[in-house]
């Protein structure tokens, strides 16, 4: 029971080792390269973009890809390449933000739930069961609509949708960690549950949470785009990919590059994050790499 934690913590120590193992798989290496590229493009968007993402040039509306407009322009003449670059900031930034929010709240709730047990545990877990009983897209839409359609509320709605996964994961880990003697020892010292959960339980349940975060990133970026497409997320003229496609799909037949290139941006981003998530999971999942506890 104690070996996985020790083995995991030992593996976590070597950053270089982790990097080497992560890039050993060809797909994961590709995903790492893509994710790094996407994050760089998003961060450097203001310097890389040839034009402002919101400046309107009606004379050049719906022009095809050219040397001046690499990805063409949209229905009011905005440079599509610039809009997609700025869109990466929103998708990656808001995606990461809502996943981290869900992970933070979920880890705390789950860890206390697992440690306290009894009625607190029952209450929290039944609440999570209710959240889980809705299809995630339906719940996200309902929450976003109820909160009011804007980007921040969409992020909040997604965080709530993602919450139960983290609560369940953290609770399951907290249950097994609570049985370890170091938790009992801390209780004999007279320390409160706040200290025990934050200092003993949460640090030991972080590895699977990190895996879950990387697995969720792709899905979350897709959800943000979906809400944007349905008009429940970012509102025009914000250069958000989903919102852009919701306008652009009407031009699919005559100006195919407009929705297609925007869709390709979503596709590549989500796929890269998913592959990265799979790679990280393969690496850190103790069930795949069972090794004896190290004693040195």
């Amino acid at each position: 029971m104690s070996t996985p934690i020790v083995a995991r913590s030992a593996r976590y120590g070597g950053g270089r080792m982790l990097w080497k193992q992560l890039t050993a798989n060809r797909f994961t290496a590709l995903a790492v390269a893509c994710v790094v590229a996407i994050v760089l493009l998003a961060l450097l968007a203001p310097w890389l973009a040839p034009d402002s993402p919101t400046s309107v040039h009606l004379s050049q509306r719906l022009s095809p890809p050219s040397a001046r407009h690499w990805f063409g322009t949209d229905e009011v003449g905005r440079d599509l390449f610039s809009r997609i670059l700025y869109g990466a900031r929103i998708s990656v930034g808001v995606g990461l933000g809502s996943v981290l929010l869900a992970a933070l709240a979920g880890t705390l709730l789950g860890a206390f739930s697992g440690y306290w047990g009894r009625w607190a545990d029952q209450g929290i877990m039944r609440l999570m069961d209710i959240l889980l009983s809705f299809p995630s897209i339906v719940l996200a839409m309902a929450l976003a609509a109820a909160l009011g359609p804007n980007l921040l509320n969409a992020a909040l709605a997604i965080a709530i949708v993602k919450l139960p996964v983290y609560v369940r994961l953290a609770r399951a880990e907290a249950l097994s960690i609570s049985r370890q003697l170091f938790v009992k020892a801390a209780r004999t010292f007279g320390l409160g549950s706040g200290w025990i959960v934050t200092r003993h339980i949460i640090p030991n349940l972080l590895p699977p949470i990190v895996v879950q975060i990387t697995l969720d990133l792709g899905d979350t970026i897709l959800l943000i785009a979906t809400l944007g497409f349905l008009g429940l997320g970012a509102q025009p003229p914000t250069p958000e990919w989903g919102a852009m496609i919701s306008v652009g799909w009407k031009y699919l037949l005559d100006q195919w590059w407009y929705p297609t290139l925007t869709g390709a941006a979503i596709f590549i981003t989500v796929m890269s994050f998913n592959l990265l998530g799979d790679g990280v999971r393969d690496l850190l999942d103790p069930r795949r790499h069972e090794e004896g506890g190290r004693t040195s």
């Binding site: 934690i5 913590s9 003697l181 010292f189 320390l191 506890g293 040195s296």
Partner: protein, 289 residues
């Protein structure tokens, strides 16, 4: 060091430090959907005197762990009371204030009792969080911790390492240092050697003996290893299905056990002779950590 050198007579006159008076603890367990009541502690009464090593023996499930939990304040008794240094620390219903820092415990498996994510420094200072600021300042300084590490046979640089960098015996030394950091009066030892190699077991027992003298400690030693109990304890209480069936001086218990269960318990461990335990301790390499 010989067994004969330990003077148990001086202890006999000493004042009581821990008293259990008719302590009762029941658990409701579900067996195939039916609620069954298990009595983990049934009218248990005994007194531990200052400066002695009191052994608690019994097979697994006899209520040893429950008694330890009750004394450590992790559970409240259903009946009776427990007093420490003349003050009631556990009684049914209302929870009296617990003297955190004055009673500490060393656990069976040091692989599980030390948080793998904490450095030794954090592990050692943790118990000080529940004691008075003066005590914390006095015993929590780097110099005091290094001295304590030296007293349990570990190097000063151990302070900044993680538990997984140590061997099983060394980890148990860290756990012992952690128990002593608040300078407790009473230490519960819950099978502190049973998870260790046999050669290391003897070293840990020797260490516990020298620390007892150095810190003026009283031990409650929970074990099912009759050889170690005979070597280490001054008096022994025998637990059987939650009841304390016999309490006697170690010599009396081993030479003339009065209860039927004690006799069976002693017959079950023929290989661990008294002389064997002694020989093992003498053969252990000194100074090896």
């Amino acid at each position: 060091m010989t067994v004969q050198a330990r003077d148990t007579r001086a202890v006999a006159a000493a004042e009581p430090i821990l008293t259990l008076h008719q302590v009762q603890k029941r658990f409701l367990v579900r067996k195939r959907g039916i609620r069954v009541e298990t009595v983990a502690a049934d009218q248990v009464s005994f007194t531990v005197r200052r400066g002695e090593v009191f052994g608690l023996v019994g097979e697994s499930g006899s209520g040893k762990t429950t008694l330890a939990n009750l004394v450590m304040g992790l559970e409240a008794p259903d009946g009776g009371e427990i007093s420490f240094c003349g003050r009631v620390i556990a009684s049914p219903g209302r929870r009296p204030p617990f003297p955190y820092g004055d009673i500490q415990m060393v656990f069976q498996d040091p692989r599980s009792s030390l948080n793998p994510r904490m450095r030794v420094h954090q592990i050692l200072t943790e118990p000080l969080r529940a004691v008075s600021p003066e005590r914390r300042a006095q015993f929590g300084s780097e110099a005091a911790l290094v001295e304590l590490l030296g007293q349990v046979g570990l190097r000063p640089e151990s302070l900044h390492r993680f538990p997984h960098e140590f061997s099983g015996g060394q980890r148990q030394r860290i756990a012992i240092a952690r128990a002593l950091v608040t300078r407790p009066k009473l230490v519960l030892l819950d099978e502190p050697t049973s998870a260790l190699d046999v050669s290391v077991q003897a070293q840990v027992i020797q260490l516990l003996q020298s620390l007892q003298a150095e810190f003026g400690l009283t031990y409650v030693f929970i074990s099912h290893n009759m050889g170690v109990v005979r070597y280490f304890c001054d008096r022994v209480g025998v637990l059987y299905r939650g009841r304390l069936v016999e309490v006697a001086d170690t010599d009396t218990l081993f030479s003339a056990p009065s209860h039927e269960y004690t006799r069976r318990l002693l017959d079950a461990v023929p290989t661990w002779s008294h002389a064997g335990a002694e020989r093992l301790v003498e053969e252990a390499p000194n100074g090896g950590v």
